[in-house]
């Protein structure tokens, strides 16, 4: 039987936690470390995805005022908060040299099985959503990421919501909401869930950790032995933390792909529809669908999720929305698909216009001469 190492950590800093995952993945890829499952918690912090522009994703003033460290993950995806109620799951295994651009979607689904299997023992039915989320009845319970290192090591990362302080998250992350009131908090709460909410029991972190650990044992049929970092790994972690994850050039780097936001508000027979789209290049980075029409939050969450990291091509958007409407036909009767498609396309056009303007003016709202934090 294959043996993996299990490392348990708590209260790690953002920079040390990220450095540890990367070193483990590098060493695993190089064959100098065992495949490792690391289940850990961070000191409260906010982490953006590999290529995100941090100023666009986080309320930096709020983070500074509240002493919340910010950092950048090697994995992709969106900004997240981490703390004692979000369990970090890092699985590192050696990859194969011939699968550089292959197996991505399937690897993500495969690596999630430990979490799915573990939570199933609590009676929580978790579904893997093709792009990057684990959901329970359409509500997000974990975000996933995958990174391949130069040594061909694979780092699968998940943040599992054991619990979530939604008001705090809305203060840390930039959101489409102009203000944060009970309504906004309720909207986000309806679109996410947590382990504790699903089982209505106050399981502590160690209990959840044991459940996930056993989930990986069951799903992969491997022998997972408790261990710790080796001395050489610790030295590498220390170096990488100092040289990369404590380096402002890494944390505050920017990208050539500009973010641009577009909004549209239309009146529909079911009520006002408010759509906000954030484009990264021609990719829809995020979508927000709100308004005063009556419908299921699950269906709206599904619509929004289906548009994340999606092409902004009109036909492609229509095709994707049609599938979601088939799935939620009864729940979406008050939100006509034609009106939604029209509003989304209008918001996309406005965002694209904003991006073109910003691109024509290199010192517009997206770019600060010399770098935002130089």
């Amino acid at each position: 039987m294959t043996t993996w190492r299990y490392i348990k950590n708590d209260n790690v800093t953002a920079s040390a936690g990220l450095a540890a995952d990367e070193v483990l993945a590098n060493c695993s890829g190089a064959g100098t470390s065992l495949p490792t499952l690391r289940l850990y918690t961070y000191q409260p912090c906010a982490l953006v995805g590999r290529f995100q522009t941090i100023e666009n994703e986080l309320n930096l003033n709020y983070c500074v005022e509240n002493k919340i460290p910010v950092n950048r993950r090697p994995t992709g995806g969106g900004a997240i908060i981490m703390g004692q109620d979000q369990l970090g799951v890092a699985l590192v295994i050696p990859g194969k040299s011939d699968e550089t651009y292959a197996l991505v979607r399937e690897r993500m689904a495969q690596f999630s099985q430990g979490i799915i299997s573990g939570l199933a023992t609590l009676g929580i039915e978790v579904e893997f959503r093709r792009k990057n989320d684990l959901e329970v009845n359409g509500k997000k319970i974990a975000g996933l990421g995958l990174h391949k290192t130069a040594t061909s090591g694979l780092l699968f990362h998940a943040s599992l919501l054991v619990d979530l302080d939604v008001p705090n998250m809305l203060n840390v992350l930039k959101t489409p909401f102009e203000k944060i009131s009970d309504k906004e908090i309720s909207t986000v709460s309806e679109r996410t869930t947590t382990v504790r909410r699903e089982i209505d029991t106050n399981l502590n972190n160690n209990e959840v950790r044991t459940i996930i650990l056993n989930g990986y044992r069951n799903a992969f049929q491997v022998d997972i032995q408790k261990g710790d970092f080796t001395k050489s790994e610790l030295e590498e972690i220390h170096q990488l933390e100092k040289n990369k994850y404590c380096d402002r050039d890494w944390i505050f780097q920017t990208t050539d792909v500009l973010d641009a936001t577009g909004k549209d508000v239309v009146k529909t027979p079911g009520g006002m529809l408010d759509v906000q789209i954030v484009l990264a290049g021609k990719m829809i980075k995020s979508a927000y669908i709100g308004g005063d029409f009556f419908t299921s939050e699950h269906a709206i969450a599904d619509l929004e999720q289906s548009l994340r990291w999606h092409s902004s091509n009109e036909n492609s958007v229509s095709e994707t929305l049609s599938k979601i409407y088939e799935r939620w036909s009864e729940d979406l009767t008050n939100l006509p698909m034609d009106a939604l498609i029209k509003a989304i396309n209008s918001a996309i056009q406005k965002a694209a216009h904003t991006a073109r303007k910003a691109s024509a003016d290199p010192y517009g709202c997206f770019v600060t001469p010399g770098g935002a934090h130089a």
Partner: protein, 144 residues
């Protein structure tokens, strides 16, 4: 029915599903092929080496994020970068939309083309290699 993939016959391919096309200038243009992109999904972000940067076959020359996977882009040949595609840096989705045309990544002046191209697939071998790759992907559950 099996999905069809477009592979242009006027270029070389490597195991990372990069295509390499010889230009009249002696430089080569590099891009990603349709099969690799189908598995990887839509490209969200890219970084590419600056003009003049030396690159080495098999070593990282850039980074990418597709959906939620991040990783390196490995140079398919050794040489020097003579041009990078600014259009794909600003709109990475172009790599998926026009992989063999406007979605190219970099142009490289190769310094060991004869030896390195011998390890790539082209010409008469292409058809059999594509079939084998699709079969490999399907067997490993990559496509579908």
């Amino acid at each position: 029915m099996k999905k069809q993939y477009d592979f242009r016959t006027n270029r070389f391919y490597n195991s990372n599903h990069l295509w390499i096309k010889e230009n009249d200038s002696g430089h080569v243009t590099v891009g990603m092929d349709e099969l690799g992109l189908d598995s990887l999904g839509e490209m969200a972000y890219l970084t590419l080496p600056d003009v003049g940067t030396p690159v080495e076959m098999g070593k990282a020359m850039g980074t990418m994020e597709a959906a939620k996977m991040t990783g390196e882009i490995y140079a398919p040949v050794t040489g020097f970068v003579v041009e990078k595609n600014e259009a794909v840096l600003q709109n990475p989705l172009l790599v998926n939309e026009e992989p063999y045309d406007n979605g190219w990544l970099v142009k490289i002046e190769p310094t060991n083309w004869e030896d390195e191209s011998a390890g790539m697939v082209t010409g008469n071998y292409l058809s059999a290699w594509i079939d084998a790759e699709i079969e490999r992907f399907e067997t490993q559950g990559i496509l579908g």
